[in-house]
Amino acid sequence: MGEVILTMKGIDKSFPGVHALDHVDLEVRKGEVHALMGENGAGKSTLMKVLTGIYKKDSGTITYEGKEVEFHNTREAQDAGVVIVHQELNMLGHLTVAQNIFIGREFKKGIRIDDKKMNEEARKLFDRMHIDIDPKETMSKLTVGKQQMCEIAKAISHEAKVIIFDEPSAALTEAEIEELFKIIRDLRDQGLGIVYISHRMDEIKVITDRVTVMRDGAYVGTLITKDCTKDDIINMMVGRVIYEDPKTKNMTPKGSPVVLKVDHLNAGKMVQDVSFELHKGEVLGFSGLMGAGRTETMRALFGADPIESGDIYINGKKVTIKSPQDAVKHGIGYLSEDRKRFGIVVQKSVAENTTMADLDEFSNGPFINKKKEKKVAEKFVESLATKTPSVDQLVVNLSGGNQQKVVIAKWLTRNCDILIFDEPTRGIDVGAKNEIYKLMNRLAAEGKAIIMVSSEMTEILRMSDRIVVMCEGKKTGELDISEATQENIMNMATREIN
């Protein structure tokens, strides 16, 4: 480890309804890999967004190369050498690898873009990383892992001095992760400061030198990785929160009927021949890497995307689902992974969102019975413990966890028997996360059938009665919770990838 290159001190940031960062500190040295850890919603990504100028901090100081700085956008941060490799890849699929890497700062020959030079430069970058990718290849043809490598190459090409990796391994196979680690070690040895965000404990022990832990938007502490145990880190991460106990056996009542049967479902490249059954009172976990086709399967099942072939049976009866309207009619509710885009209407109130899927019930002819609407919305605010000043509050002003509860209320109002939770705790703070878990268990106990898509292994193991694993659009395994381990799930999740 060399000298300090970056110090963030007392960083504070609030959003409406959420204190996202509460005086957080972080110090990065040259030639170290520094892990930034914490549960989902602990504020890791927010901190990095403050660093790279995507968010403006409310208070605190950032010192970079000995000078106090404030970047106003990612461009400024990049130019100074602070680059972020995002969890979601920001690539333009129809351009070539080299065009993507040099986007916004293309080499020119006169007024024409000099593609030859860009290809050469990209080749040099890949050589430096000891990987073999053709710069002329169209981006969309690469695997997710290779695309990630391109994203890293792009970061390096900015003459980066600090590179932030935001959960880089979420979409990678074992082999690709190995390759990634090799590159990261290389960069470290070249004297770069690396921030590595992840919640995979094993990776942290393997790749990082120090670890800073955050919880609920606050700084907890910094440790030297080789001097601490996994449990030390977990204790710091989890703190006071007592989780729902992980399930060790299938809690579904014996002989519980099948409410949903999906038979050889096909819908595009991401849903190939998927079959499974869902029982009453069961939580069925869907595990897999990013891009495994789980969300696509759910969207097809819900009628949001067209189905090519395959049958869907509800309570033993074959049904046709051509649109979300059909799905809702058959008692299916879908809570999207992307609440803001697909779940809520942010400019409408809590009450209006609550009745969105069942407005006919709240209408006399064309007129809405607002009194009844308000009463039901208030009932759900109370029973789900949604934190909102009133049901007239616009949903945009609620925190992520409370927005999620509004979406849940929407489907409970409709009284759906089958609920699909797609990444139910993404972007939700730790306390609220546990409440969502409790709620899901309660709903299952009340006889609802629940599908839970999750990329978090701990969540899958904690919540599911049975687990379906997908990889590259195909179902690669099905496990009872009693026989599931991280290892065998991971194995199935990477089965189709070579």
Partner: protein, 324 residues
């Protein structure tokens, strides 16, 4: 400032509507002073209003479309098309006046259905759809009337009774009808399923669709309401101007949209205010009347409405950015 905004009465009426009312009164006062009191008095106001009614209906019409996040540039030409074709039916084909009025509504409705179907079911952007129907409306009217202008009857003439819809002596019937229809629009937008879905899908169409709502149907309904209101606007247009020429009507698009966005309806969809639209229309009409009374160049008004649209939309963009 914040404390004024938090006042319960102000909150209920809406801060920007109060500001608009103040702007309206100040403008009126200004014109009164500039014209040396010539602008003052009920008679002047009433004559100004006669030219405001059709714009009021037009602005209400486009409010529904903008609430869905769409836009309609065909309202002006479609209004002309309604006025020309139904007027032609009356003057050339000797159709009775009530039938001519109904035809105006039907033509407006037909264009609404056409636009709405293309936008909602075929996913054609509303910008393109309405540009196309603007040309269709102009062409259709020209072909039908053989490119002749059409003059609607004066009050003393046969069928001139329709002008009673605009004024009966000193009673501003048009104002009463406009207010009644505006109230109906406000109820539709705020109290009914249709309004709820229109505003919601304007804000986040995909989320509404994924709630199992037939978004296509409701999106189309906004265009149908728009078309019907344009048909009504045509009747009040000829009530004010009598003679209609084929090939025009575009200039009223801007004025109608200006009234709408000035009143607080967001071009991004999801937010709409009927009362705001009505006040906005009064401001535009007053402006027009004031410019005429002062003997200034009529084209000045075009420049000012253009600027109003940009300022109002920009204010909306800024407000949104601050919220995020």
């Amino acid at each position: 400032m914040e404390s004024i905004k938090q006042n319960p009465l102000v909150k209920k009426v809406g801060f920007n509507r109060i500001v608009l009312c103040i702007v309206l009164l100040l403008m009126y006062a200004l014109f009164c002073i500039l014209t040396g009191g010539d602008f003052f008095g009920m008679r002047r106001i009433l004559s100004a209003l006669n030219y405001a009614y059709f714009l009021g209906f037009l602005s209400l019409a486009v409010t529904f479309v903008i609430a869905t996040g769409g836009i309609d540039f065909s309202i002006g030409p479609v209004m002309f098309c309604c006025a020309l074709m139904s007027g032609f039916c009356f003057t050339m084909y000797g159709m009775p006046m009530p039938a001519a009025l109904v035809i105006s509504l039907i033509i407006g409705l037909a264009f609404g259905i056409f636009n709405g179907y293309l936008v909602a079911y075929w996913d054609v952007p509303s910008f393109i759809t309405s540009m196309a129907s603007m040309n269709i409306a102009k062409g259709l009217a020209s072909v039908f009337t053989k490119t002749q202008s059409v003059s609607w009857p004066q009050s003393s003439q046969d069928g001139g009774w329709f002008r009673k819809l605009v004024t009966i002596g000193d009673i501003p019937m048009g104002l009463i009808i406009l207010i009644v229809i505006a109230v109906v629009c406000a109820i539709v937008l705020n109290q009914t399923k249709m309004g709820r879905y229109i505003l919601s899908l304007g804000s986040n169409k995909e989320a509404v669709r994924l709630s199992g709502v037939n978004v296509k149907k409701w999106e189309m309904s906004a265009y149908i309401v728009c078309g019907l209101l344009v048909g009504i606007a045509a009747i009040f247009f000829v009530g004010a101007y009598s003679t209609v020429q084929p090939g025009y009507g575009d200039q009223y698009n801007n004025e109608a949209i200006a009234g709408c966005v000035m009143g607080g309806t967001s071009m991004a969809g999801g937010l709409a205010s009927i009362s705001g639209t009505i006040i906005g229309v009064f401001i535009i009409s007053l402006l027009q009347e004031g410019i005429m009374a002062l003997g200034l160049d009529k084209n000045l008004q075009l420049i000012i409405t253009g600027i109003i649209v940009i300022v109002a939309v920009f204010a909306d963009v800024v407000a949104r950015r601050r919220k995020n």
